[in-house]
Subunit: 314 residues, 2 copies
């Protein structure tokens, strides 16, 4: 049993070594290491898993490489609309926000919704009003302007495509198969687990579409009795399959362990269903699972007293 | 086994016979009967359970007595913001909308999102744009103006309360305990089940709050292998407990029957958790369960060849 442990992801999809430069690979690896370190420092100092997953996700949100926060992709009308959710496994309290604009760290807003309101989920302009009322940090459009993301939008508009991508360096066809979301799960020394997920959604998205990232039970779930989960993938399928809570139920009701439950959902059910993507999972004993059915998933994990793991490809 | 069957609800909460007039009781009973009849007519003529739940919910949305569609309660800024979701048990396809304004029948928009877009969930202004693009029927503010609802808002504003109510005739304190949502579940002669849920949310609500009604897995779920569920209750608790999918998992993974699974979640887990409300459930054999842990729930059900059941109190 690990006293503390943390795992993160930076999105899944068709991430092929053949189209990655060594420089790009180093940047992604460094971004993942930085996020793990921020979270681990909190856990090492007896901080809560909730604080650790929030901090790790903030680090990923602040990194323009990942499709969340600063690096959020552009919607059809040239905006950045973000979704996030967070949940703690001891009290089952949760917070989530959908379609928020200009908030620097949507994951912190999700935590504030959990802790400073009676609600779990807030959407759009109303959520922005709440954010202002509690002095959440906003950033103007220029902060969210990342040239590679803007180029992706122009590319997507050429074919009227809606891309679930998160990467700027590949071609449009390839981008279709990238699911840009970031997330973290952690166990703290008090024995509590937590999960957090944040995304910029789909390039060229219209109509206020939300995927699974702001949905408790689908994109995010945490329960000390079973597991904490953060998903990344084709959100529509993850919603219909209620992915995060499905893993929890397979453990609670069918007695599967963390690994077997993740394998059942990610590598069997979702494959049959057509839902490409992956997830990170942790249980209260510190077991970690990093499952995906796509070509790759940006991921990293660290258990107390063990070496850091960073992975990109299969 | 029933060839076809349907059940509906019009919200749960502190619905006491002592504060109900015979006239009001008759109106509610008639509203429930009307909605069942609309759905049953479709099922009797070999229509789909999807069409039946949509039609039954439209009937309830068009009735100002219920907190959905026309009878939607007012938000803090005097608007009507509605949420709805729908799911079919054969393909696990689903559609949902959150924070939509001026759409006459949000449940039909949810169905259109399922059938005419690549997405499951759309929010706010973006969802309205989609609705316009497919010629969804809109209605102006006057259609949604119901004096009793407006009076509720003024009452709520006096104390800055946020009411989960749905009824206009009782006092403010009582209103706090009413969960205004409508829903339907049905089995068709092809053996497919479906679920639909629609709500006007909370009186005096702020910040774009959404409850469980637009959340697949929490407020609505349907799977031919297990059950179709539509919930009504204190949405925040229903989201955190992933209520609808929990019942499905108890059936699929633990082997419980429909009734035992509903009892476990509504009368045990939710009671311990503090989540007041109820739900309607159906399985592919035509078994129906109408469970609630509150004082009452507006509800009705009809199985082929059996008498209509209508209930309000415990």
């Amino acid at each position: 049993m690990s006293k503390y442990a943390i795992a993160i992801h930076g999105g899944a999809g068709t991430i092929l070594k053949s189209i990655m430069t060594p420089e790009k690979e180093n940047q992604y690896t460094q971004g993942l290491k930085d996020a793990i370190e921020v979270g681990e420092t909190i856990l090492k100092n007896n901080g809560s898993s909730l604080a650790a997953v929030e901090a790790a996700v903030r680090s990923l949100e602040n990194n323009p490489l990942f499709n969340a926060g600063r690096g959020a992709v552009f919607t059809n009308d040239g905006k950045n609309e973000m979704d996030a959710s967070i949940m703690r496994g001891d009290t089952l309290e949760a917070g989530a926000v959908a379609g928020i604009k200009n908030v620097k760290n949507p994951i912190s807003l999700a935590r504030s919704i959990m802790e400073k309101s009676e609600h779990v989920l807030m959407c759009g302009e109303g959520a922005a009003k709440f954010a202002k009322s509690i002095n959440t940090e906003f950033a103007d459009d220029s902060y969210f302007f990342v040239q590679a993301r803007f180029d992706q939008l122009q590319e997507a508009k050429k074919t009227d495509g809606v891309f679930l991508d998160h990467s700027g360096e590949a071609n449009a066809e390839d981008n279709k198969q990238k699911f840009g979301t970031v997330g973290a799960v952690a166990l703290d020394v008090q024995g509590t687990i937590a999960a957090a997920t944040s995304t910029g959604g789909m390039t060229n998205k219209k109509f206020g579409r939300a995927g699974d990232s702001p949905i408790i039970g689908s994109g995010t779930y945490a329960n000390n009795k079973t597991c904490a989960i953060s998903c990344t993938g084709h959100g529509e399928f993850f919603i219909r399959a209620v992915v995060a809570y499905d893993i929890s139920c397979l453990m609670e009701y069918k007695g599967l362990n963390l690994h077997d439950a993740c394998y059942e959902v990610v590598n069997k059910k979702l494959v049959t269903f057509g839902g490409e993507g992956g997830l990170i999972a942790i249980d209260a004993k510190g077991n970690i699972d990093l499952s995906f059915n796509s070509e790759g998933m940006y991921r990293a994990s660290k258990k107390e007293g063990e070496a850091l793991f960073v992975g990109i490809y299969k």
